[in-house]
């Protein structure tokens, strides 16, 4: 005994990281990827540029300051005499902004006694001996020129340079502020930041553009797929020549090939069936006619049997024809033979041709008429629309207590052929299903013998759809059902030849 497995609700598995992120479209993702890439690139490049620039600037500034300090030291060495004013000499030095000289002297008395006299001279009292880093002072005073980056007493980044001056038994120092360098660097970083934003925007724009480029072939595939679905079976992608898209193009065209082959096979089958059924029907029909021509030679019983045979042969032939007609719709091999007709005249002929001589054809007096006739001219496939009208009339007499009138109305763009009956109408829920094949939805509720197979209304729907129109059911003003066939009003470009639409 088979035991049914317990039903396990299937849950679509979503990676955790995706669970809370909104799903982005392919295009949004491409743009995002390009933007992030551009941002990353911009940041890396900015970092490198900033670093290199900073190093270069600092080195250059150091070199400049050192050179200037050495020159200044020379000037001081030659300018400072015991009798001169050291401070004046220092003040007269050409020092750039933010550069502060400091001079250290150690006077030796003439007697050579160890009475050493140290003197620190600085034009800026704030940047005197104590402003210099101790390590630098020591190193320079021990006779070695030196320089050092440090933070000065004001809290600014500075460079201290010192060089011993043997003549004076002292040393020359300079404190060079690097603050202006920082300003330069920050303005460079600001510029780089701006450039980065521009790069990200450019990246996004490029992403947008290239995603459009990338998605354009997909659009073409979409158009081709739609055209294929719309019945253009010979649709293939031929305009795309791109080695990268080769697989998708090949598989699409392959799919189209097999689809076309399959539909052609189906159509071929329908056509084969058609041929196979037509021949015996032809023989049957001709033979029965011969029998009917000679019915007086038959006994009464045989005559009754012949009548039954003839009637059912007619029904059988109709059914076969309906089946073949609908299979041709499925195969998509239908052609419209459009012909311009006077609407009320045409409908009148169609109603009488179907055998309903007493059903009145009434035209809405407000219907837009033509100049030449008190009628409407429109192009339609006479055979098909006559068939539509006949099927609706048959339907009305089978299920709707007989047709009461055929009412024509419409507007500038549409004509409507309404077939009213005297029955109980069609319930709301059946109004769509009634046009399905072999659907007896209507028949169950409605009176009638139910002998007809439910292909008549399905064919009505197909014929009308082929014209670009639609069919529906509503309540007739008189109480029964009203079947409404809406057809677009068509004017033919040239009437000389038949218009054939696929």
């Amino acid at each position: 005994m088979a035991v049914a497995a317990p039903a396990v609700p299937t849950v679509e598995r979503v990676p955790r990281w995706r669970r809370f992120t909104p799903r982005l479209g392919l295009r949004a993702r491409v743009i995002l990827a390009f933007s992030v890439g551009a941002l990353f690139l911009a940041m890396v490049l900015s970092g490198i540029v900033l670093g290199v620039t900073r190093t270069n600037l600092v080195n250059q500034r150091e070199a400049n300051a050192t050179r200037q300090a050495l020159i200044n030291a020379q000037i001081v060495r030659s300018g400072v005499r015991p009798e001169s004013n050291t401070l004046q000499v220092l003040q007269s030095l050409q020092t750039p902004e933010g550069s502060r000289p400091i001079l250290y002297e150690r006077a030796v008395t003439v007697t050579g006694s160890p009475d050493l006299q140290e003197r620190w001279t600085a034009p800026d009292p704030e940047f005197g001996k104590d402003a210099l880093p101790l390590a630098l002072r020591r190193e320079v005073l021990s006779g070695e020129p030196a320089k050092m980056r440090y933070v000065d007493p004001n809290g600014d980044k500075s460079l201290a340079i010192g060089t011993p001056i043997a003549d004076l038994n002292g040393a020359y120092f300079e404190i060079v502020s690097l603050v202006s360098l920082d300003d330069t660097l920050s303005s460079i970083s600001f510029t780089l930041f701006g450039a980065s934003i521009a790069t990200v925007l450019a990246g996004a724009a490029f992403g947008w553009y290239s995603s459009r480029r990338i998605l354009r072939p997909l659009g073409e595939v979409g158009i081709a797929a739609r055209s294929l679905a719309g019945g253009e079976l010979d649709t293939r992608i031929r305009t795309l020549v791109d080695p990268d898209l080769e697989p998708i193009i090949t598989s699409f065209n392959g799919m189209a090939d097999s689809l076309e082959a399959r539909i052609e096979k189906d159509a071929q089958f329908a056509s084969d069936v058609s041929h196979e059924l037509r021949s015996p029907l032809m023989t049957l029909q001709a033979s029965i006619e011969v029998l009917q021509n000679n019915r007086e030679a038959l006994s009464e019983r045989a005559q009754s049997a012949l009548d039954l045979l003839a009637e059912d042969l007619d029904r059988f032939r109709e059914l076969v024809e309906d089946l073949l007609e609908i299979s041709r719709f499925d195969a998509g091999v239908m052609h419209l033979q459009l012909e311009e007709v006077l609407l009320s005249q045409f409908v009148g002929y169609a109603v009488r041709d179907a055998g309903y001589h007493r059903v009145p054809v009434v035209m809405d007096p407000d219907l837009d008429l033509t100049e030449d006739f008190d009628d409407v001219i429109t192009a339609l496939d006479k055979r098909r629309i006559a068939r539509v009208i006949a099927n609706l009339l048959t339907n009305a007499s089978k299920y709707g207590d007989g047709p009461t009138q055929v009412y024509l109305d419409g507007d500038a763009h549409t004509v409507r052929i309404n077939v009213d009956d005297d029955g109980e109408g069609v319930p709301e829920e059946d109004r769509d299903r009634i046009f399905e094949r072999f659907n007896r939805a209507g028949a169950a509720h409605r009176r009638g013998t139910g002998t007809g197979v439910g292909l008549g209304l399905a064919l009505v729907a197909e014929h009308v759809r082929l014209h670009g129109g639609e069919v529906s059911v509503e309540d007739a003003p008189s109480g029964g059902a009203r079947f409404v066939v809406s057809l677009p009003r068509v004017e033919l470009e040239h009437d000389d030849e038949f218009e054939e639409l696929a």
């Binding site: 032809m282 023989t283 006619e289 021509n293 006479k382 000389d496």
Partner: protein, 226 residues
């Protein structure tokens, strides 16, 4: 003398049944199962109407139609599988006068044959000679001359032309022509008229692409003028 009909059909059972039905009408029926046999029979025996199934083994119905047309203006009815194919137009252009789709009722075939065999109505004496520019129609003799040279028309083409000539300048709708020439009602196939008009033009017009005599009146039909 009884009307002689040649049926060209490869299915023996259909051929026999159709023959039985047509013989009930009092007609004589000759049979052919291939195009080759049909052409041979046609040349050997006098024939009033030919019925050809388009789907034939060997040379097809269109070719049989064309071959017969080259040597005769006998009325030809062709049998096609479907009405809404190009087969119909192709068959008419091959020279057929009318068509039926399978399965047809033999009564319908008889009606078609009778319509095709109907004699051209004799015009009144005033219309014994009709002249339209370079075109001369002599209805009673079944002769059409263009520039004093006889033009060979099939019976149906001739009837179509005389119908148009019966009221020169009057516009005939397709429906009217279908009824008068082929005996159809309103739902006759308008392509019969169009293809025959086209064929007629190639025979009687100096420039069939810009017809002078048989003119299309847009949305209404055709008319004949000098």
């Amino acid at each position: 003398m009884a009307t002689r009909i040649l049926t060209v059909e490869d299915d023996e059972r259909i051929r026999t049944a159709v023959k039985l039905a047509l013989e009930d009408e009092g007609w004589t029926v000759a049979e052919a199962d291939t195009g080759e046999v049909a052409l041979e029979t046609f040349q050997r025996e006098p024939t009033d109407v030919v019925l050809i199934d388009i789907m034939l083994p060997g040379i097809d119905g269109f070719e049989v139609c064309r071959s017969i047309r080259r040597i005769s203006d006998v009325p030809i009815v062709m049998v096609t599988a479907r009405a809404d194919t190009h087969d119909v137009v192709a068959g008419l252009e091959a020279g057929a006068d009318d068509y039926l789709t399978k399965p047809f009722a033999p009564k319908e075939l008889s009606a078609r044959i009778r319509a095709l065999l109907r004699r051209t109505r004799t015009g009144d004496p005033a219309h014994a000679h009709l002249r339209f520019g370079d075109l001369e129609i002599i209805p009673d003799e079944g002769v059409v001359n263009r520039n004093e040279e006889e033009v060979h028309l099939t019976k149906t083409e001739f009837r179509l032309l005389t119908e148009l000539a019966s009221s020169p300048g009057r516009v005939f709708s397709r429906e009217v022509l279908l009824e008068r020439v082929w005996g159809y009602g309103y739902f006759g196939d308008g392509r019969l008229v169009d293809v025959h008009i086209r064929r007629l033009r190639t025979k009687i017009e100096a420039d069939p692409a810009n017809p002078r005599h048989v003119v299309t009146v847009r949305g209404l039909g055709y008319k004949l003028q000098a």
